[in-house]
């Protein structure tokens, strides 16, 4: 609890279903694959007669900025439901948790877990790349080859990347 780093949880890749315990809802979907599920949640919330704010598609940066404002104004009872590629969903989750939401108040559906946000521990740049943990990708900031660690920072919602050579002792990966 409260630590900046956590080992990587497994994010649900099939529809976890609507969390019916909320009093009001925010639903965000990123990308075409996520949209049908998110629209299904949206319809169910409307059927329950509870207030909902939803964004499907659009520029991720704008959606995240708006999400931050919504979180700031949210009252307890609010639920956030997120669907989309892992990188977007985790970025939205980081915005929400830094605003005080608990994991119990957030539902996630990951439609694409091939793309990862990788945070370079050397130059502080975050790179979006199609890369698995344990593999190497180039940093878009400093160009270093980063080994993608099996750790996600809650704060910046990115996998931790270290320069490959920094991890090697006598030619063996640590």
């Amino acid at each position: 609890m409260g630590s900046a780093h956590t080992s990587v949880p497994r994010w649900p890749t099939s529809d976890p279903g609507l969390d019916r315990t909320g009093r009001s809802y925010a639903i965000l979907s990123f990308g075409p694959d996520a949209r049908p599920t998110a629209e299904g949640w949206h319809r169910q919330v409307v059927e329950l007669g509870r207030p909902v704010w939803a964004r499907h598609g659009g520029s991720a940066d704008e959606v995240l900025a708006e999400l931050a404002e919504r979180v700031e104004a949210a009252r307890v009872g609010w639920r956030l439901m997120l669907a989309g590629p892992q990188a977007d969903v985790l970025a939205a989750r980081a915005v929400a948790t830094s605003g005080g939401l608990l994991d119990a108040e957030i539902t996630l559906l990951v439609t694409d877990d091939r793309h990862r946000r990788v945070w370079c521990s050397h130059c502080d740049t975050t790179t979006l790349a199609e890369v698995a943990t344990g593999d190497v990708t180039g940093c878009s900031g400093c160009g270093r080859s980063l080994l993608v660690h099996h750790h996600v920072s809650r704060r910046n919602a990115a996998y931790l990347g270290f320069m490959v050579d920094a991890e090697t002792i006598d030619g063996e990966a640590v």
């Binding site: 409260g2 315990t21 009093r23 009252r75 307890v76 005080g100 108040e105």
Partner: protein, 310 residues
């Protein structure tokens, strides 16, 4: 278990049927420190031990302060507590913290019913001292408003006090639907009040992770079904008849388990569970501990056999 031998430094009826007591070391020295919301277990004579919330500030305390409601049925040790006078000696446990303010909370909503105000007084004082955002709803019987003046001075309009059930419902409803995300709720009071607050909070969409309760008046426990406790280390089976606690049954079988409150609040009698499903009736264990441990003073078994690591 370590206990402290203390003396009564103050004993005063502060509201009808409510006596405030303070305990100190005979040499006036500093007592063990504790977070807000902590409690101590006090020997109340005739083998009774009760848990009481500490209302004093917890940093380097020179006295522990509690307030005791006199129960008219005379059972439960409150009569003994009310007979204590300055200079009497008491046996008190070290403080235990099971109801501390959540450090990451953005706001703290406190709800107290009757004598359940005692841990909330500690929370309110601590919140004001450290500049945390706090609101208190306090419902009590007419004429038994313990600590009202102090709370009003401390909290101003962040205190909502009522003696009226309907008004309490309106205050609660308004509070439950108006808290910024990041608020945590703490409630202490009689069972029906706790049940109502928890139910209303759930209906307003509060997840259990934001709700914290302190239940000092144990729900009347039914005698329960007979089961067998299997002691894994010795391979022995101990029969636990209906009406007898697991703690007592183990004791009669010659297996001593440390214990204090015998009400499922202090945490002393925790026993690891290896197989079977406990029937939990305590207020101590966190949800994620309930698979692997049982408080043997009050809890029983859902399965016919409960295998424990003793």
């Amino acid at each position: 278990m370590t206990t402290l031998a203390l003396v009564v430094g103050h004993s005063e009826e502060i509201a009808p049927g409510i006596r405030e007591l303070s305990f100190s070391r005979t040499d006036g020295g500093v007592l063990p420190a504790h977070p807000a919301g902590s409690h101590v277990v006090v020997d109340c004579g005739e083998g009774r031990r009760n848990a009481y919330s500490l209302t004093n500030p917890g940093a380097d305390p020179r006295e522990y302060r509690i307030a005791v409601l006199h129960k008219s049925d005379g059972a439960g040790g409150s009569g003994h507590m009310h007979s204590l006078r300055v200079g009497d000696t008491v046996t008190v446990s070290r403080p235990r913290s099971a109801f501390a303010p959540v450090s990451t909370a953005r706001r703290h909503l406190l709800v107290a019913g009757g004598i359940g105000i005692t841990p909330m007084l500690a929370h309110a004082r601590d919140a004001v001292r450290w500049g945390r955002d706090v609101d208190l709803i306090y419902v009590h019987r007419p004429g038994s408003e313990a600590f009202s003046d102090e709370l009003a001075a401390l909290l101003g309009d962040r205190l909502a006090e009522t003696t009226d059930e309907d008004e309490f419902g309106r205050l609660l409803d308004k509070a439950l639907t108006g808290q910024p995300i990041g608020t945590h709720l703490y409630v202490c009071g009689p069972g029906p009040l706790l049940d109502r607050v928890l139910a209303d909070a759930a209906a307003a969409g509060w997840p259990p992770e934001r709700l914290h309760l302190e239940r000092f008046v144990p729900a009347a426990l039914d005698p329960g079904r007979e089961f067998v406790a299997r002691l894994a280390r010795s391979g022995r089976d101990v029969r636990v008849p209906s009406g007898r606690s697991l703690l007592d049954a183990l004791h009669e079988a010659g297996v001593a388990v440390p214990n204090m409150c015998r009400q499922g609040v202090c945490g002393e009698c925790k026993v690891p569970v290896l197989a079977g499903t406990p029937l939990h009736r305590d207020e101590f264990l966190a949800d994620d501990e309930r698979g692997a441990a049982v408080m043997c003073c009050v809890s029983r078994s859902k399965t016919e056999t409960l295998e424990i690591d003793l």
